[in-house]
């Protein structure tokens, strides 16, 4: 029956009717909906950080939507950049070219963020970075759309280098990944270490996906430093730690914000993670009122995954963006203008103030050490009192 012309016509007509039905409006809402894009690594090796950040952003949106005083209803469009620069450019282009998206809260990975900066500028989409710490993201070019609530890696390295030399370490080797992030880490680490009287006796650049580090570790072992500085992200850091132990190397491993979080400790295991040092540009979230409030609300919301190191920053950035939209209206240009005037904005990570380049200048660096499977601030740890000793500590 379907082969005859009337049969086919009926089928086609039926299909068109289905089409028409789906176009029917689905009812109207009381408030206008405003879309905000959130971008981070939802799949791949960094997904723990991405999912924590997304959950935190969703939490902010949920709380805002439950607030009757809000002028608008917010919708979070979560996009996955897979921590890859090219995918980041694609999703940033997608967010930018979608006129219904008013603002963006992008990127955990610095390599991805530095690739997408011009895209936001091209589409005039205001954005507030929630995690990436590469300085050039805000300081490379002065672009009105670019802002960041997390710190830059300059601060962590300055504090870190002084701290290490104060502890008595003199001979360092730097192993960083070959993205702009790793290169910047290496640059500032070396600069501040030399300023403080230390020596960097070897430098190694490794692509972030490289699996086998035997070649590099063989050479490092030969150089016999006291500490190895790692400038990269959790997956590579995991490999460094596991493999250096297999080679019988007892150097201290010091990292930076890239390895802060449960992901690194879970991947490496409690035993191997013990005594690893790191530096993180964040206030003690559990000590401030706003921070404690965030932690409580996150737990109440019932997310399975932890909010990870930068969750509070993601929460703060999303709230900031929404408040500016409330203030200036759902218009990209007006929101960009409003974001230029952020001073002492109260948030889960402390007061946020943007300088001329859109960079938040308030974060302070906290020193962390892994103790019993958790990142513990140095001052609170047994290493500070001398009860436990770091590798190669004098």
């Amino acid at each position: 029956m379907w082969r005859t012309r009337p049969g086919v016509a009926a089928l086609t007509g039926g299909a068109l009717a289905v089409l028409a039905l789906t176009v029917l409006p689905q009812g109207s809402l009381a408030k206008d909906t405003v879309k905000i894009a959130w971008i981070g690594p939802l799949t791949g090796a960094l997904s723990a950080h991405g999912i924590g950040g997304r959950n935190s952003a969703e939490l902010a949106v949920k709380l805002k939507n439950a607030d009757p005083a809000a002028r608008y209803n917010y919708e979070l469009v979560a996009l996955d950049d897979e921590c890859k620069p090219n995918v980041g450019v694609q999703v940033a282009t997608r967010a930018g070219s979608d006129r219904s998206i008013i603002a963006a809260v992008p990127h955990y990975c610095s390599a991805t963020a530095i690739a997408t900066v011009e895209v936001y500028n091209r589409f005039k989409l205001p954005m507030v970075v929630w995690a990436a710490v590469l300085p050039e993201i805000t300081y490379g070019k002065k672009l009105p759309e670019i802002h960041r609530v997390s710190g830059t890696l300059i601060g962590q390295n300055k504090v870190g280098a002084k701290f290490m030399t104060d502890l008595g370490y003199k001979r360092f080797v730097s192993l960083c990944d070959t993205t702009d992030y790793g290169k910047s880490m290496d640059k500032y680490f070396t600069q501040f270490t030399l300023e403080n009287g230390g020596e960097v006796i070897g430098k190694f650049g490794v692509p972030p996906d490289q699996q086998d580090l035997s070649a590099e570790l063989t050479q490092i072992k030969d150089l016999n430093p006291e500490a190895i500085f790692f400038g990269g992200l959790t997956p590579l850091g995991t490999r460094l730690r596991t493999q250096m132990v297999k080679f019988g190397m007892d150097q201290l491993m010091e990292g930076q914000s890239g390895i802060i979080g449960d992901a690194f400790i879970n991947a490496v295991g409690r035993e191997l993670a013990e005594g690893v040092l790191s530096f993180f540009d964040s206030p003690r979230v559990e000590k401030s009122e706003a921070g404690k409030d965030f932690i409580k609300k996150y737990a109440d919301a019932g997310y399975k995954e932890p909010y990870e190191a930068y969750g509070p920053f993601s929460f703060a950035a999303t709230n900031l963006v929404m408040d500016k939209i409330e203030q200036a209206g759902p218009d990209r240009a007006k929101v960009t203008e409003a974001l230029a005037q952020v001073k002492d904005y109260p948030s889960a990570v402390g007061p946020i103030t943007f300088d001329d380049y859109g960079q938040n200048i308030t974060p302070l660096t906290t020193k962390f050490v892994v103790q019993d499977g958790k990142w513990v601030p140095w001052e609170d740890s047994e290493y500070a009192t001398g009860k436990r000793k770091l590798n190669r500590q004098k």
Binding site: P85, N86, S97
Partner: protein
């Protein structure tokens, strides 16, 4: 249905407009439920067309009036651009589909015409893209030269592989291009000058003084700047079709077919196998490089991750999906491969899995592809 019947030009023209309309509609619509509904409608219409013999009429008509077909496609494309004039991302995707299809045509020439397997296609596309990125450092070089230059550089790099490709058969030949694809990725990832894993940024295209990052403004009518790229991609696609059809419908095509079907017999009859393989390999690489360079400048950014083994396999899948040796088949196949995952977000993650399954099914059921290419029949009025 006698093959010598003279057909009218209008089935082909209408088919062109319908296809362009479908493409534009899917590209423009954001609502996922609507897209799915639309796709179901199109599937129904397609099957209806097959049953009623409409497709056969379109093919006959297209074969007899190639110029009408091409004119129709051009007009339809312009209409689509006008329809989508404000939709940035939709236009970007259409341009991507056209460029991807160009790569597939290059691959069709290598695989479908000459029988050369190429599992490193993404490496050649990447060579063109990186060539364009390097030319970017010489801002005095005009963009048309950059594009052609990128194509030529891809040809040169490809020619380094000619000796192994010519000397090996079967599995050994497959290894050559496979290894090249991997070598390209490793090389670019490890070389800081080429950006390493961080990738390279590129400026957009400027042709004859017109900067492609400017929106087109006609009175109060604003067309997104991506339309510039759509038109350029269309021109490049047209060039690819032109090259492929000239190759196919000539004595070169006959010799390529002969080489593909039976090398030993061809050699016995005095066909110089080496030359024709070189021709096909080079032509395919040129198109791949050209498309890669254009894509790179359109996106403004490339990284080694854009050109992996998975991407090479996707390109080969598209060629198979569209029918090996069918140069027009590349377009609908690419449209499916590129548009569907973007539009149907929920399959975005499963994209590679789904396409692998589809290719396996096709290879098991119909090894020559979805729309197998008929070996040339040299009577008038039939698509050869």
């Amino acid at each position: 249905m006698t093959s010598a019947q003279r057909a009218a030009p209008w089935p082909a023209i209408i088919a062109a407009f319908v296809f362009a309309g479908m493409l534009a509609a899917v590209a423009a619509i954001d609502n996922q439920r609507l897209v799915i509904a639309l796709l179901c409608v199109f599937a129904v219409v397609w099957m209806a067309a097959m049953r009623l013999g409409v497709l056969a009429r379109v093919e006959r008509s297209a074969g007899q009036y190639p110029h009408a077909l091409r004119g129709a496609i051009l007009l339809a494309a312009l209409a689509a651009v006008a329809l989508l004039h404000e939709d940035n991302f939709g236009l970007l995707m259409i341009a991507t589909v056209l460029l991807y299809a160009t790569c597939c045509i290059g691959l069709t020439i290598q695989l479908g015409y000459a029988g050369l397997s190429n599992f490193g296609a993404a490496g050649f596309v990447g060579t063109g893209a990186y060539a364009a990125a390097v030319f970017n450092w010489l801002p005095w070089l005009p963009d048309p030269l950059v594009l052609v230059g990128a194509g030529l550089i891809t040809v040169i790099v490809g020619s380094l592989l000619l000796l192994p490709v010519l000397r090996t058969r079967g599995h050994y030949a497959a290894l050559t291009t496979l290894a090249f694809g991997i070598m390209f990725g490793v090389f670019v990832d490890a070389t800081p000058v080429l950006g390493g894993p961080q990738g390279l940024k590129l400026a957009g295209i400027t042709l004859l003084g017109w900067d492609f990052s400017n929106d087109i403004r006609v009175a109060n009518f604003v067309i997104s700047f991506y339309a510039n790229y759509v038109l350029l991609a269309l021109a490049i696609f047209a060039l690819a079709i032109f090259i492929a059809s000239r190759l196919d419908r000539s004595w070169l095509g006959i010799w390529l077919d002969s080489v593909r079907l039976d090398e030993t017999a061809s050699a016995v009859f005095g066909v110089n196998i080496g030359w024709w393989k070189i021709l096909a390999f080079t032509a395919g690489n040129f198109l791949a490089g050209l498309a890669g360079a254009t894509y790179a400048q359109m996106m403004g950014f490339i990284a080694p991750n854009n050109f992996t083994l998975a991407d090479s396999l996707m390109l080969v899948s598209a060629v198979i999906l569209g029918g090996i040796g069918n140069r027009w088949g590349a377009l609908p196949a690419t449209a499916i491969l590129v548009l569907l995952p973007e539009k149907l977000q929920f399959i975005q993650e499963y994209r590679l899995l789904l396409f692998a399954i589809v290719v396996v099914v096709i290879l098991m059921a119909s090894p020559a592809g979805l729309v197998p290419r008929r070996i040339r029949r040299l009577e008038p009025g039939v698509v050869a």
